[in-house]
Symmetry: C2
Subunit: 655 residues, 2 copies
């Protein structure tokens, strides 16, 4: 991506985060110009006249070893008054600039905040339709009180408590201290008629004047790369608003290990990452509340799932011990913590329920998957794969469950590939290649049909599901060999061998909006091989642990679980042999688990029970992990056979 | 007190707080000089050379209607560099000055902070010896853990929890969120050996590395005028340190009604008063911790008693509804609130237990008295009187308890009397008058004997117990008539009639350190009559409610309960007839109650039960309160007879 610096011309390295796009840009160009050259999509509606303020970016200061870059504010033209009016004081301190104003005079690492990313409105963490029995932790009760009188000198709280007990059989209630502070006023505002929100039939967490029947809760899935939120009506099971965003911690590291390193090596590293995610969840809560037409403080309950590292960072717990043997987390159990103690700006008396974690990096997100998919209640041998920056696998049935985690890198999320991008409009999400002609058809997000119609959205890059399709199709068409090498003997203009290795053209420049050919290069294939190899090896070692040699069912979950083509996934060998009809893509099951825990307290109990039962396998300690991993890098595998998938695979593989 | 301004000379009104001493002072004099003229005692050891910094005072700004004073910093000479070095930034903002430097050029209200008050080291809120069964809410447990290993990947908390459960049968424990945040570090600091503090066998509130056997708790009694604290060892029942201070809220009003008015009329009135008491309790916690040689954060439990208004202000609950019919409090029940949520800087995970309140102004202090004295477990008809700025009475036995409260004003605490002062060295605490010669003997705090020896501490004023003695003795000697008027017909140089009414000299100028005669004037007598009349009327109305006509036992409790002479109290008619041997002075029973609740959880339960059982009588609504009050203003009463106290009273009364 981008060009390497040419002699005689002053160029500087520019890296955009969280996309990871980078390249060398001529001195004096604006960040906005750089973004166009590198395929980074920034908002902006004023034609770069510094009048709309939509292209805000934040310059990260310091030395970033990952990119070999010393990024400094001084590497840009000085801030101008025309920019300042768009920034808060805080933003100015955080190094905010307008991309259309700031000119490049040195290397810079540019963070693009959620609101400045073009295409942000389409999010692919959609919800799965699930029937969830309604049994929420927070319930609302309306009561009419007898006003205080000289003959009845009870305190306001005792009056309310007695009424709740006699009308709704809520004995032994306590009241949140902050709610108590406002109780007198609310009771009198409501003319002695109030609506009370009670948590777990135990504690009053909110009192509102008059009758306020509806109550809302937010289920949040904090993945390493993305965060998804589902605002639910607690009195129906309706999802009233959804939202997703990049995890704002990505600027501190793209995977769990780099974030742990950041927490260890920087004095306030943990605090910075904690503040970032808390702020992010607060902003998300604000957005879903706005969508639903309620106040953020009207969110009465919040559940959280996430892998162990995300869990620790969200709770502001030092993750350093997660990073080295014997990898003990601080806590496994679920937690109920006051929203205000976590800095969350929902209803201040509300509790945040953090689902329990398993072990290692197999966290509450995987517990969410378990209570959503319930392999522990099935007879079949189920392999559940949660595909994200960090892959998590669970294998088992009602007898026993084992789990492991593997570092897959962000390839499946479209990041760090030559033309990789997130699953937003303009991304190629499906690919078909004719095995004979090697001609390519593709579908772009934003278009209903497979089309290259001029009216349609043009391609800008390729997202996770698109890359899996492309690799699978290239393999089936003989463009890729079993070891992942591009077959340079083929006679097709789409295959191109240049100084930096062979490439295969998926989209010609005139089919794109970036006026460049969109290609898959050898490095892109290798990134996918590494990711899928780790997954496959993990699955194999789990099967060995349970002494099983076949899978009855495979569940694909995670950020792009809904969008992945299961045939393509099977073709590249993401998991061992399984009949195609028994492979299910279930979307964001972790988020579904958070939603189940939000709407049903039995789900919380089940989560705690199942989390305790799962046995965790530390892959890197297994005797022949390296050998298994190396074999699994092959397409679909170096040695294993796939009798149930025979019809999908090239003959020479299945033979 | 002090002189009224004379013509031709520029004088300014100076008021000292919390004593209430005031007077007109010549322009240009220092505050220290003013303090001497008005009998206010300020610290200072450098001879007013601005080198010891001990005479710090704080100038209150604004208009204070109570004193008719517009107090401003500009009414003093400008602050000098010699002063500044003694102040923190915060103190400078709070209007701090050195009294020996600041000169008076206008009216000022001067607050004398605790540390600048001379004689502060002697505090009369002493503790009563009580055997308290040790059953504290917070217990400490020492455990040695098996370090984490690959074969045992439990979380740190689960490891600790399992060990506490197996060793001490502590199932279902939870852990404070803040403690969880530090758990990993503490466990490793202690090399997997830790001491755990557990609250109510339910929640871990602190974890310390290694073995730390001792634990401490603080019992706090917040009275309208004074605050007392007792630091107790939770592993023995030893009181390891005590402290007392003026309630820092006195600058906002001297009794509960003026504080309620302040909360209503000032926008941040409630917040100011809450901050003042929280800061005061924090400072007190710091002082007792220092005495005991521990850290303030080592205080693991804290119990609080106080009247309803003090209770509300401590909790930052708006007291406005307490001030008008039907006077409902916000809450009666006891509360357990995290110290950090209240802004208390003891162990951050600790809970503060606030004892339950009864009704009206009969608060947790009275509940403290009840669990300390246990009238609800007795057959005798007991009248318990808690004497403070606000008087609280409970009458009854195991059958039934009734209570009431009455505004007594601060006379019993030595405030707002012509030569009144707190019970500190130099205060006359006992008085005897020869009925024939009308000659006076008195005892001064700081001296072991009744003495006017030149070596002894000279008198500076008269405190609460001294004034009650004086009134009783003057009455018995015929110097006071039954209606409280000074008998001006007597032939004694101690009786002096001047333009502002008659006075009786208790100490001659040469027996004092203030070179003035210490006198009791007609207004002083009236203040005591009002206070004791309210108490007596309250007791009568409680007796009427229970339909009893005699008392078996009278308990005198409160700030000066230990020091009051029960004969004198009976002589002036503080309560209805009762045999002298059945009158007990028990000291600070409210504080004892706080100590019982600190050391014994059954005491907390008993407090909740007894608080619910007491019936509260609103005196001002009783049909003939005014008539009862008027009759009770007489010495000892207009109509009632005192057959059991016959031997104490002048013949014409008992006849």
């Amino acid at each position: 991506m981008g060009a390497t610096p040419e002699k005689g011309k002053q160029k500087h390295l520019v890296v955009f985060q969280p996309s990871g796009r980078r390249g060398y840009i001529d001195e004096g160009k604006t960040i906005k110009q750089a973004s166009r050259e590198l395929g980074e999509e920034l908002e902006g509606i004023c034609g770069e006249k510094a009048t709309c303020g939509k292209c805000k970016v934040s310059i990260q200061s310091g030395f970033f070893a990952r990119y070999g870059i010393e990024s400094r504010m001084e590497n840009l033209s000085p801030i101008e008054d025309s920019e300042r009016k768009f920034f808060t004081k805080r933003q100015e301190l955080d190094g905010y600039r307008l991309a259309c104003v700031a000119r490049i005079y040195g290397d810079v690492l540019v963070f693009v905040p959620e609101e400045s990313r073009a295409g942000k409105q389409i999010v692919r963490k959609s919800i799965t339709e699930r029937a969830i029995e309604l049994k929420p932790a927070v319930r609302k009760y309306y009561v009419e009180l007898v006003p205080a009188a000289l003959e009845d000198p009870r305190g306001d709280w005792e009056r309310l408590q007695a009424e709740l007990n006699s009308r709704f059989d809520l004995g032994q209630l306590i009241i949140d201290y902050q709610v108590l502070l406002g109780l007198q006023k609310v009771i009198r505002q409501g003319d002695w008629k109030v609506t009370v929100s009670v948590w777990m039939d135990r504690e009053v967490i909110k009192v509102e004047p008059g009758l306020v029947p509806r109550g809302y809760g937010l289920a949040v899935d904090i993945d390493t790369t993305t965060v998804a939120g589902y605002l639910c009506d607690l009195t129906s099971d309706e999802v009233v608003a959804t939202d997703a965003m990049m995890n704002p911690q990505v600027i501190y590291g793209e995977d769990v290990m780099t974030r742990i390193t950041y927490a260890i090596s920087k004095e306030d590293g943990l605090q910075s990452m904690n503040r970032a995610i808390v702020k992010g969840v607060n902003q998300m809560a604000g957005r879903v509340a706005l969508q639903a037409g309620i106040k953020r403080r009207g969110i009465l309950d919040l559940t959280v799932v996430g892998n162990t590292c995300m869990h620790h960072l969200f709770l502001s717990i030092d993750p350093q011990y997660l990073g080295r043997a014997p990898f003990p987390p601080s806590i496994h159990h679920s937690l109920d913590i006051k929203a205000r103690d976590l800095g969350l700006k929902i209803c201040p008396g509300a509790y945040v329920h953090v689902l329990p974690i398993e072990a290692g990096f197999v966290g509450a997100d995987n517990v969410g998957l378990l209570i959503a998919e319930e392999p522990h209640k099935q007879d079949e041998m189920v392999l559940a794969i949660d595909i994200g920056t960090n892959g998590e696998l669970v294998l088992g049935n009602r007898e026993k469950l084992v789990s492991c985690s593997c570092a897959t890198g962000p390839a499946f999320e479209g990041a760090h590939l030559k033309y990789g991008m997130r699953a937003v409009p303009g991304a190629i999400e499906k690919v078909e290649i004719d095995p004979d002609t090697k001609e390519v058809r593709f579908k772009v997000i934003g278009n209903a049909e497979w089309s290259t119609d001029l009216e349609a959205v043009a391609a800008k890059g390729i997202c996770g599901s698109g890359i899996i399709d492309a690799i699978a199709q290239m393999f089936k068409a003989g463009i890729l060999q079993r070891n992942g090498r591009l077959n340079t003997d083929l006679e097709t203009p789409r295959l191109r061998v240049t100084g930096d290795g062979p490439k295969f053209v998926i989209a010609w420049a005139d089919e794109t909006s970036i006026s460049q050919d969109i290609v898959i290069c050898q490095d892109d294939v290798a990134a996918v091989q590494l990711a899928k190899g780790a997954m496959y090896a993990g699955a194999k070692l789990l099967m060995r642990r349970l002494a099983v040699d076949r899978l009855d069912k495979v569940i694909l979950a995670g950020a792009f679980g809904t969008y992945i083509d299961k045939e393509s996934a099977a073709t590249i060998g993401l998991f061992p042999d399984c009949a195609l009809e028994n492979i299910y893509a279930v979307g964001n099951a972790a988020g579904d688990g958070a939603r189940i825990a939000l709407l049903n307290v039995d789900g919380r109990r089940e989560a705690s029970e199942v989390a305790r039962e799962v046995e965790y396998i530390e892959l890197t300690l297994e005797s022949d992990f390296q050998r298994q991993f190396a074999q699994a890098m092959y397409l679909p595998h170096m040695k294993d056979t796939f009798p149930q998938l025979k019809h999908l695979l090239p003959k020479k593989v299945t033979g």
